[in-house]
């Protein structure tokens, strides 16, 4: 190839780089064979402690659930995972149709009009929704009601600060409020009065943003049912492994009045000259590559493959399967809560509040509980005091369809010993 270019060394192609900038080499070791590489990476993996699914009772935004083998069988198809963002629709119908189906699945699940093609995670989804509300209402305050995931609130603050938006805590919106943001169930696992919070937002002309658990929507009222304007959430439970926190997938759905404010990609149906249906990226006038500094967001790459995983999960499970795992999780969590609350020194932290499959409980010796459990190979509850001063000694425990009755026995035995 050098000969075709009429030069005899690579130097002929690097002439524009000032000599003073050239480095002799990278300060990195030389490359390794695949065998040696894998040995090194595998040894790092081996330095982590893996708790089995059935003995994991820790949630806080990332949950162990049954993942059908179909999910990985689809997402590991190289036609999906090595494709680019579908800029050329004729050569990307597989990705486009799959994501159009994802948009429909999320819109159905949230009972809202339109969902986008995905966002990075639940935290950025909350922040993006707040930005929509700010632009839509022209108001510069957002209200976070109750125990919303503290990391989501952190990200919301980071997004808000640059644009001069105030993030306040409370559940009494005013005429200054752009949005009321709540989480259902909340970070502690408790149910909030979502219809009432939505009404309060609407009473002052603010947008109601519901951050929801997608599995819970098989059972709980979806945001569209109680009139919330925007639904967002974290889709990890829809077929994605914990993977130390990512990659997972954020979702966002909204009422049709807000569609033009949506961030990120949107896919719609189209037709070719022969009348065949196809799918295209659309409403791109909202996006950075067209509108530049006037775009609704800066999103380019999002989380398409994770959205595909979620689609496969929802399509495989169906409404009935999702309802089944939501019911099983509910029953097991309630059975576990009853057993733990009966132990000496243990008591439910909010005995008058309803929960789904994660619950806050006061434990007698916070420092010792998880140590005891870890000794038995159990990943115990999550200490809420890390984030909330008023929740000293309160842990949340979570149950799903992977925590069988015997695993619960093991947990109760271990903390009782």
């Amino acid at each position: 190839m050098l000969a075709a270019l009429g030069i005899d060394s690579m130097e002929g192609l690097l002439v524009d780089i000032p000599q003073s900038l050239r480095i002799p080499s990278l300060e990195l070791p030389n490359g390794l064979s695949e065998f040696e590489t894998m040995a090194q990476v595998t040894s790092l993996a081996a330095r982590n402690r893996v708790f089995p699914d059935r003995l994991t009772f820790r949630g806080g935004g990332v949950y162990r659930r049954f993942i059908p083998a179909a999910v990985a069988a689809v997402t590991s198809k190289p036609e999906f995972y090595t494709a680019y963002t579908p800029y050329q629709p004729e050569a990307s119908q597989g990705t486009l149709q799959a994501i159009y189906e994802f948009q429909t699945l999320i819109a159905e699940l949230t009972a809202l009009d339109v969902a986008n093609a995905s966002l990075y995670d639940g935290a950025t989804a909350v922040a993006e929704a707040a930005m929509m509300a700010y632009v839509h209402t022209g108001r510069k305050e957002v209200l976070v009601a109750g125990y919303v995931h503290p990391e989501y609130v952190d990200v919301l603050r980071a997004f808000s600060e640059g644009r001069g938006i105030k993030v306040k805590k409370g559940s009494e919106p005013t005429a200054m409020t752009a949005a009321v943001i709540f989480q259902q169930p909340d970070f502690l696992g408790l149910l909030v009065d979502a219809p009432e919070l939505t009404k309060r937002a609407h009473d002052v002309g603010a947008i109601a943003i519901a951050c929801v658990d997608p599995i819970s929507l098989a059972l709980l009222a979806p945001p569209g049912q109680y009139g919330a304007d925007i639904a967002v959430g974290e889709g990890q439970q829809l077929g994605l492994s914990p993977s130390y926190g990512g990659p997972h997938v954020g979702f966002i759905a909204c009422h049709k009045d807000l569609v033009r404010r949506l961030p990120g990609r949107l896919i719609g149906t189209s037709h070719d000259a022969q009348g065949r249906r196809g799918f295209v990226l659309t409403l791109t006038a909202r996006e950075q590559h067209i509108r530049r500094e006037k775009a609704t967001s800066n999103i380019c790459t999002n989380h398409s493959l994770c959205a595909l995983a979620a689609s496969v999960y929802m399509t495989y499970m169906g409404a009935e399967g999702m309802r089944h795992v939501a019911d099983v999780s509910f029953k097991r969590a309630h059975a576990l809560a009853t057993r733990l609350a009966a132990l000496p020194g243990w008591e439910l932290a909010f005995p008058d509040r309803q929960f789904l499959n994660e619950f806050p409980i006061r434990v007698p010796n916070p420092a010792a509980v998880n140590r005891k459990l870890a000794r038995k190979g159990i990943l115990g509850g999550l200490d809420m005091h890390r984030w909330f001063r008023d929740l000293k000694g309160v842990f949340t425990f979570t149950c799903t369809e992977v925590n069988d009755a015997r695993a619960m026995d093991e947990l109760v035995e271990a903390v009782s010993s």
Binding site: L28, Y84, P247, A273, G278, H303, L379
Partner: protein, 498 residues
């Protein structure tokens, strides 16, 4: 070939999958939770058997072009081969099963990997620290601008403007605007490089940063980068590096040495993590010492061989996403870097530059080449020489699809009319590059001899050219209440009882 939607294939009597039963004594949710908090109508999700699900997605997969089957010369996107060892590494249960809130002493391997990846990225781009938290390139840009904003504010300076060249990626101005900055455009000179005179006229004490990619989006190295850095720094502003084009010079030179203060990297471009049809990617950001206090929390710190997450960073801009970033993508990028080593990464960049220049030479005379070479890892051609036949860059792109190549990036950068931006990457062989050049030659011949035929390509893909204008029009009708069809989703014929 088209494939019905999963919703259209749905059968009401398909069996739900067998799932574990509760096996405990507890009340039903429906009896305990107040009715207004319960779902009234089941969502209309499809009902399909497992074989139907698998066949549906297999058929969809077959309708995609991808790196696994096609050459993907998308300029600015660095669509290189994704080594399968990366996937094997990221699938290790020692990584996939980790809960993000496990105690630090149970995730030392994961933290060690993140720490080593940070060190390696520091070495490649020449910075002091790197945050691995941003989920994508644009997210990284925004994170860096937030840090730059915090830096100026910490010095009591309210700088409100960010300079962006007219040839920049659209994410640059968008990220600046979302950080609350006013965007000021800087012109390119006739040679495609940033105009120093225009830059100088726009620099002031109001400017927080200049965002630049090098090589620029025309594939040209900004020869005057050291002068640019000096001009920017003299006004107290910071220089930001858009890492989309980092594949051009790994091991040859480093953005940090050029004077860049903050650098984002796209692990899904330069470091071979797959693009997934539009993510997930990862957009780590590297910074020089004076921006380090503002890094997002947590950072990974190493003390006496023990690794920990540091949340106590008083000047930090806070969190930019939940947990610690797209960890699975970090594993893939780390695996790639270990396998390639310093020598391999350097060779990769050399080969990428050679491939681009070779391909540029091969299309010379076929398409317009508006700027003088040599180029770096990519080049921009123009289809304006085909305009007399009524042929546009779009037609060339569709002609390539018909010939089993993915199309280059078209109509970008905006400063070149009918732009065709080609980035072959180092992982393509000479025969592939030759075949691509031959396809361009065939298309140009067709453009001259039977342009009407070219305007109707592609014929052999699942669908022909789609009417995107009609789609946008129909959505408008829906949003204005003039139509029931939302276009952006399938609508069930009837609601199902819960």
């Amino acid at each position: 070939m088209t494939e019905p939607l999963s919703f259209e294939k749905s059968r009401p009597n398909a069996h739900a999958p067998r799932l574990p039963d509760a096996d405990v004594v507890a009340a039903e949710a429906g009896d305990v939770i107040p009715r207004e908090l319960l779902r009234a109508q089941a969502p209309a999700l499809p009902r399909l058997s497992e074989p139907e699900v698998m066949r549906h997605y297999s058929r969809l997969a077959s309708m995609n072009y991808s790196i696994s089957e096609q050459f993907y010369p998308l300029g600015s996107c660095t669509m290189k081969y994704n080594p399968v060892a990366n996937e094997a590494a990221a699938s290790l249960p020692g990584f996939t099963a980790l809960h993000p809130y496990q105690d630090e002493d149970t995730v030392q391997g994961a933290l060690e990997l993140m720490w080593r990846l940070e060190q390696a990225l520091c070495a490649v781009v020449g910075v002091d620290r790197v945050t691995l938290q941003p989920a994508a390139g644009a997210h990284g840009e925004w994170t860096a601008l937030r840090m730059i904003q915090a830096y100026h504010r910490s010095r009591g300076e309210a700088r409100t403007e960010v300079l962006v060249p007219d040839s920049a990626h659209g994410t640059n101005p968008a990220s600046a605007a979302l950080s609350g900055f006013q965007v000021v455009e800087v012109a390119s000179g006739p040679d495609g490089r940033i105009s120093l005179a225009d830059l100088e006229s726009k620099l002031s004490s109001k400017v927080a940063a200049l965002m630049l990619t090098n090589p620029n989006t025309l594939g040209l190295f900004e020869r005057e980068i050291l002068d640019i850095a000096e001009l920017v720094h003299n006004t107290g502003a910071k220089l930001y590096y858009d890492g989309a084009n980092l594949n051009a010079f790994m091991g040859v030179c480093r953005p940090g040495d050029m004077g860049f203060d903050a650098v984002h990297m796209n692990l899904h471009k330069t470091f071979t993590t797959p693009h997934g049809g539009g993510g997930p990617g990862a957009g780590p950001v590297g910074v020089k010492a004076d921006l380090v206090p503002f890094l997002p929390t947590p950072t990974v710190e190493r003390m006496n061989g023990h690794l920990k997450l540091d949340f106590k960073r008083p000047q930090s801009i806070g969190r930019v996403r939940s947990f610690y970033g797209n960890f699975g993508m970090l594993v893939r990028a780390y695996t790639y870097i270990v396998a390639m080593g310093g020598d391999g990464l350097t060779q990769a960049s050399m080969d990428a530059v050679l491939s681009a220049n070779y391909l540029r030479k091969r299309v010379e005379g076929l398409l317009d080449l508006p700027h003088e070479g040599p180029c770096m890892h990519e080049f921009v051609a123009s289809a304006r020489n085909l305009a007399p036949n009524g042929i546009k860059a779009l037609d060339v792109a569709k002609g390539l699809l018909e010939r089993d190549f993915y199309a280059p990036t078209i109509y970008f950068p905006l400063v070149v009319p009918e732009a065709i931006m080609v980035e072959p990457t180092e992982t393509e062989s000479k025969p592939t590059l030759d075949a691509f050049a031959a396809a361009i030659a065939e298309i140009v011949k067709e453009a001259n001899e039977s342009p009407e035929k070219l305007r109707h390509e592609p014929h052999s893909l699942p669908v022909g050219r789609l009417d995107e204008v009609a789609t946008a029009r129909q959505i408008n009708a829906y949003l204005q209440g003039l139509s029931e069809d939302p276009i952006l989703r399938w609508k069930p014929a009837r609601e199902q009882p819960c």
